[in-house]
Amino acid sequence: MSEHNIHTTEEHGHEEHAALDKKKIWQVFGILLVITVIEFIIALVIIPGGHMSQHVGNFVYIALTLLKAFYIVAYFMHLKYEKLGLQLSLTVTFIFILYFITLMLIEGGYLHLHMSAAA
């Protein structure tokens, strides 16, 4: 059974090999580097220069962070080349984290309002 499993992963491995070669790896590295540089430009030039408010900037940072996370998980961690069943069972779970973030924003907003009023 286990030998059979290894056999199938190896077959799969050859398909992957064609999909993620050295060129693609350096391409993804370039994308990650460019996104990080954009974040630096926003933090050091655009926001201090008054072209964007910190509030809008925070949303841009989070969007760029999620984009970086996508590239790391999809290419470096190879999830893009796995079977759909594995992709779904790993990513759908993150609905719970979105739920945590929503709760944090709602509860945090409430506390922010009421604790500031008390102080």
Binding site: I6, F76, K83, T93, I97, I101
Partner: protein
């Protein structure tokens, strides 16, 4: 007769049993499941940080807290040092994925080279983090410790720090910031440290020819998953502590 033979036919679709429907080796699935649970641990820590920061009336300004490059410049360079740390970690993630790629081709020599590069990257990151911690510690931040209020004021937005009535709020949020910074970057640093240890073990096994005898380098892939995850977590820590 015909219908019976149809029933007797062995099904060969992915989910009809007898083989792994995801075509993933057992150890690799277990690594993914571990990383999933670890992702929840980190996100609960970061969500707590977000909740504290969002709730508090004021919070230390990251551009004022993190503005030194150890050994070169004591102030006035926000994000430069942490930018270097980010670059080192992304770079070591690339060398790791190159080791995995070399493993697919069963090229032992290349795997060894890329693994050594990855381990060096890991040690460089840990060294940078040690410098960062030392710097903050000298400024007076630690678990349960914050600088005296006159010093602490310099880490807040001047419009908040100049009002005497805000001192109590600055003490509370300054302390929360210090505790959470050392806890979360410490927990991440612990992951980097264990990642470096595992990488060293895997490097030893590669040099010994264990994977060559085994016929595949799947172990490099599994350890690679862990190492990329550490990089992934840093991307989020970087955003929430240094940018937002």
């Amino acid at each position: 007769m015909d219908s019976l033979s149809q029933l007797d036919q062995v099904k060969t679709t992915a989910w009809s049993g007898g083989r792994s429907p995801w075509s993933v080796e057992y150890g690799k699935i277990m690594m993914w499941f571990f990383l999933l649970s670890d992702a929840f641990t980190f996100s609960s820590l970061l969500v707590y940080y977000g909740a504290q920061r969002f709730t508090k009336f004021t919070w230390p300004d990251p551009d004022l807290v993190f503005q030194s490059i150890p050994g070169i410049k004591d102030s006035g360079a926000p994000l430069v040092f942490v930018g270097l740390m980010t670059f080192i970690l992304i770079m070591s993630s690339v060398t790791m994925v190159l080791a995995v790629e070399a493993g697919h081709r069963r090229s032992k020599k290349e795997v060894v080279g890329w693994m050594i590069a990855t381990i060096i990257g890991g040690f460089m990151f840990l060294g940078c983090q040690a410098l960062e911690w030392t710097h903050l510690h000298h400024e007076g931040f630690w678990w349960g410790h914050i600088p005296a209020i006159e010093e602490l004021k310099h880490f807040f937005d001047p419009s908040v720090a100049s009002v005497a009535a805000n001192e109590a709020a600055m003490k509370v949020s300054g302390q929360q910031f210090a505790n959470l910074f050392f806890t979360i970057t410490g927990f991440h640093g612990f992951h980097v440290f264990s990642g470096v240890l595992i990488n060293c073990i895997i490097l030893g096994m590669t040099i010994n020819g264990t994977f060559e005898r085994r016929g595949h380098y799947l172990m490099i892939e599994k350890v690679g998953l862990y190492w990329h995850f550490v990089d992934l977590v840093w991307v989020f820590v970087f955003t929430f502590f240094y940018l937002v």
